[in-house]
């Protein structure tokens, strides 16, 4: 989407036929390289000469996608195109300028969600005449519960059978990997009256032996369909396909199609434009959650673990499996534990899924996913905890409705959804949490602990939402939409950036994160604390990658900077941790660290600078296996690990060095 965004502006430029100095970005979708091209003024053949535009990168991506099941091929931009192609007019509407992007998607987003206006079925023809069209209200409805071989012609014939003659178009939701229909589609007709007829009669028509389900074009319905498509015995792509990895990967991509489309359908263009190839990383983790409330735990449960393991995202898949065993059985049985949460979240908040299952057994779990976030996590770990804990103390914090969704797949999302409290309260951990921490097994405190905040926030929640509503002056649903979008943006950006950094593509990773940050900042809900947390996480990741990239490229000169940087981070986190003085937390850290350790080993292979700065610490700490942990977060980790290994004495020692 990054690529798309710039391409958008480039095309806007062309359309205006002006000569500008333009920096455009091309991204090698597989190599994730950023290519900056300056388009100089005064060139008569400005249209294409000298411009390196990845015009057809989507083709490349899709060629990749065709056989890259477990990989990163799925492209949010492609999904955006998918969503926007369903609204032809809006596709052009994205082109004009990047400035419009945040605004336009809302229009686009609301068009299917809001009830149909009276725009005559002229969308079809007029839309195409113009390149940049404002999205018009469309008369749309979702139709699900179709067989995968139900075609557009079948739908059309069914429509004429029931007396609808102003069919405009139908767009099926497909598995990106193989193009198979997921069994649901968005149908556009020319008039409100036709919609009524459809709603009345279509459900009674059988198509290929199945009764279609007609629903209004809501995100929730989409999520339901998505879930349905996953649980079908038939859908080859995801279930049982290609072994664990391939199947999970496929499913991830499939999920991504539905999931992100759901919440992101309306806002697709914005995010997609921004993120294109990047976003999808995080989405697989989101996929099962996208199934939203109201769906039975079993589907989630099944999908959670495999999804997680197969997550193509950089960090996601790697840490989760090893994590769970140490965490104990609790975390895995994410679904049974949260009886309360599932009922609480209003249907319109599929975004917040992570909280619910995370919370009960989440104490241990939160730090876990947190650490996945590489650069950012250690200092930010606090935030994952506050969700559960902070409700009582931080009254104003919007309580993310704990989703009924499978907890196991947390990844970055857990973090995103996690920290509703602002950055300010984050450092002040709820003492209740820590009191319980050391006493019992990880699962012990959380359940007892969390039930209470559960109930309290329950009452708090409505006020929270209202609070936000009034402050933001946007509807709750829209707010959550945007919030969810931002969360997805952030999560995907981070996983993509992490992957890029792992493969050495620091520039593109940094660019991804920068764009994610700016996107979230531009969004309507930017002032919200959750967004601020997202932004902070992104920034942390960004710093991490920057530091790493600098370390890789320049020799000693940077190491000092990094050390300084790290020192500050370390101090920050250390001060926080000192406040907490919490052993149990470290216990929790241990697991994520193990994960991230292995992950970091991959990253660190090239970074001798890391080891040099590690040695910096080692001077103080000796006898630590820091050689392996040469990373900023590792520093954090090291300290924690060290602490847990040799509790008090080392803690003192640990605290002292950074002081001076």
């Amino acid at each position: 989407a990054l690529r798309v965004g710039f391409v958008e502006s480039l095309s806007a430029l062309f359309s205006k036929n002006q000569a500008h100095h333009l920096i455009t970005v091309g991204i090698n979708s597989s190599g994730r390289k950023l290519i900056l091209v300056a388009l100089t003024a005064g060139n008569p053949d400005m249209t294409t000469e000298g411009v390196d535009i990845d015009l057809y990168a989507d083709d490349i991506e899709q060629d990749f996608n065709a056989d890259d099941f477990a990989g990163e091929g799925v492209d949010l931009y492609d999904d955006v195109i998918t969503t926007t192609s369903g609204r032809r007019d809006s596709e052009g509407g994205e082109a004009p300028s990047t400035d419009n992007r945040p605004c336009t998607p809302n229009n686009i987003g609301t068009s299917p969600v809001s009830s149909k206006s009276n725009s005559a079925g002229s969308n079809h023809d007029h839309g195409r005449d113009r390149d940049y069209i404002q999205p018009l209200r469309k008369h749309q409805v979702y139709i699900g519960n179709l067989t995968w071989w139900t075609s557009d012609r079948d739908i059309q014939e069914a429509l004429t059978d029931i007396g609808v003659h102003d069919f405009v178009e139908v767009k099926f939701y497909e598995n990106r990997a193989n193009g198979q229909s997921k069994g649901y589609c968005v149908l556009t007709v020319g008039s409100e009256a036709s919609l009524k007829i459809i709603k009345e009669k279509f459900g009674k028509k059988e198509i290929h032996g199945q009764t279609p389900m007609v629903t209004p074009p809501t995100k929730q319905a989409l999520n339901q369909f998505e879930a349905q498509s996953k649980t079908r015995p038939n859908p080859g792509p995801g279930v049982g396909g290609g072994g664990g990895g391939g199947g999970g990967g496929n499913m991830n991509m499939n999920n991504m199609m539905g999931g992100p489309r759901g919440p992101m359908g309306p806002m697709g263009p914005q995010m997609g434009m921004g993120y294109g190839p990047r976003m999808m990383m995080g989405n697989p983790i989101r996929g099962p959650r996208g199934m939203g409330p109201g769906l039975g735990p079993p589907p989630h449960r099944n999908l959670g673990p495999p999804n997680h393991q197969n997550s193509p995202g950089g960090g996601g898949g790697q840490f989760s499996p090893p994590q769970r065993p140490p965490m104990g059985g609790g975390p895995h049985n994410s679904l049974p534990p949260p009886p309360g949460p599932p009922q609480r979240p209003p249907p319109g908040m599929p975004m917040f899924q992570g909280q619910g299952p995370v919370a009960p057994h989440g104490m241990p779990r939160n730090p876990m996913p947190h650490n996945i976030m590489e650069r950012g996590p250690p200092p930010r770990q606090d935030w994952s905890r506050p969700p559960m804990n902070a409700y009582p103390p931080h009254g104003q914090a919007p309580i993310p409705p704990p989703g009924p969704i499978p907890g196991p797949v947390r990844g970055p999302q857990g973090i995103m959804a996690g920290p509703p409290p602002q950055g300010a309260p984050a450092p002040h951990m709820n003492p209740a949490f820590f009191n319980q921490g050391p006493t019992g097994p990880p699962q012990g405190p959380p359940p007892t602990y969390n039930t209470s905040p559960r109930t309290t926030p329950g009452s708090q929640y409505p006020p929270q939402v209202e609070h936000h509503e009034s402050s933001n002056a946007i509807s709750e649903a829209e707010f959550e939409e945007v919030m969810g979008r931002n969360r997805t943006v952030s999560r995907s950006a981070i996983s993509r950036a992490v992957t890029d950094a792992a493969s050495g593509e620091f520039a593109s990773a940094i660019e991804t994160l920068v764009t994610a940050i700016s996107l979230i900042k531009q969004s309507k809900v930017a002032p919200d604390d959750r967004c601020k947390i997202l932004i902070s996480s992104l920034q942390d990741t960004l710093h991490g990658i920057e530091a790493k990239s600098y370390g890789g490229r320049r020799e000693r000169s940077r190491s000092r900077e990094r050390d300084r940087h790290r020192r500050s981070r370390r101090e920050r986190s250390r001060s926080r941790e000192r406040d907490y003085r919490d052993r149990s937390r470290e216990r929790y850290y241990e697991y994520p660290r193990e994960r991230s350790r292995s992950r970091d080993r991959e990253y660190r292979d090239r970074n001798r600078e890391e080891s040099s700065s590690s040695r910096y610490y080692e001077d103080r700490y000796r006898d630590r296996e820091r050689e392996r942990e040469r990373e900023r977060p590792r520093v954090e980790t090291d300290r924690s690990r060290e602490r847990e290994r040799e509790r008090e004495p080392d803690r003192e020692a640990v605290h002292r060095p950074p002081r001076h």
């Binding site: 798309v4 391409v7 958008e8 480039l10 095309s11 062309f14 359309s15 091309g26 991204i27 090698n28 979708s29 597989s30 190599g31 390289k33 290519i35 091209v37 053949d45 249209t47 294409t48 000469e49 390196d52 535009i53 990845d54 015009l55 057809y56 990168a57 989507d58 083709d59 490349i60 991506e61 899709q62 060629d63 990749f64 996608n65 065709a66 056989d67 931009y77 492609d78 195109i81 998918t82 192609s85 032809r88 596709e91 052009g92 994205e94 082109a95 195409r128 390149d131 179709l146 995968w148 071989w149 075609s151 557009d152 012609r153 497909e174 990106r176 193989n178 193009g179 198979q180 229909s181």
Partner: protein, 243 residues
């Protein structure tokens, strides 16, 4: 005719001379026997000369514009038909595909869109001449005898699949890949805004082009036939397992 062996193109009317004769006495020209053991001749990259010519610009300045044009044309002319050619050479015995690189990230095969009603092979030859054809007035012969693959685009979106998904009755684009057998020596002219690459199946460039799937189709199709590498120090004839 008998005795004349064309070096380029499948031998027509003649039993394949270098191929392994399954049954020596059998000279009937049934299509099966002709196809089963055909050899394709590949020549070293160094046999070919590449000049330059004026830039050849993409029709669409941006991705959305591209899909917009696709939509417009779909309404007027129906499904877009595209053709692309796979030009094979070898480098040290490893078959390579010639690719065009536009900018730094975009790779494509020579080819393009067919005009309404245009024949596929003729259209491909026209497009290849536009793209790579020499400019010195000498006619360029393209030998196109094989279809390697088909890709269909179900929606006005990037994904393409080697089949039409069942729920799609009207794919928006159909792309056909052809194997273009090159002469022993040839001159090509590459537009200035392109770079011509030669990517072998093991090269990372090839990975990045996203043509892996196409290449795998080449594998399926071409390598099932044996390959002769010309001008190798020790001439080899490769027999690749089917599929």
């Amino acid at each position: 005719m008998a005795g004349i062996v064309r070096r380029t193109g499948w031998p027509s009317g003649v039993a394949p001379p270098q191929s392994q004769n399954k049954s020596p006495g059998k000279n009937d020209m049934t299509p099966n026997s002709l196809n089963l053991n055909r050899s394709i001749h590949l020549y070293p990259l160094t046999n070919y000369t590449f000049g330059t010519k004026e830039p050849l610009y993409e029709k669409d300045p941006s991705v959305p514009a591209r899909f917009q044009r696709m939509r417009d044309e779909f309404d007027k002319m129906g499904m877009r038909r595209s053709v692309e050619g796979i030009l094979l050479v070898h480098e040290h015995g490893l078959p390579h595909v010639l690719l065009l690189q536009l900018g730094t990230t975009f790779f494509k095969l020579p080819g393009g869109e067919l005009a309404a009603g245009e024949d596929e092979i003729d259209g491909l030859k026209r497009l290849m001449t536009e793209t790579l054809g020499r400019q010195d007035g000498v006619a360029q012969e393209w030998v196109v005898e094989d279809t390697i693959g088909n890709w269909w685009r179900p929606n006005f979106e990037p994904p393409q699949y080697p089949y039409v998904p069942p729920h799609i009755t009207k794919p928006k684009e159909h792309k056909k890949l052809f194997l273009v057998q090159l002469q022993e020596k040839a001159l090509f002219a590459v537009p200035k805004n392109y770079k011509l690459l030669c990517a072998g199946s093991t090269s990372s460039t090839f990975e990045k082009t996203g043509l892996r799937t196409d290449y795998s189709l080449i594998n399926l199709h071409c390598w099932t036939h044996s390959v002769d590498f010309e001008d190798l120090v020790s001439p080899k004839c490769f027999n690749f397992p089917v599929g």
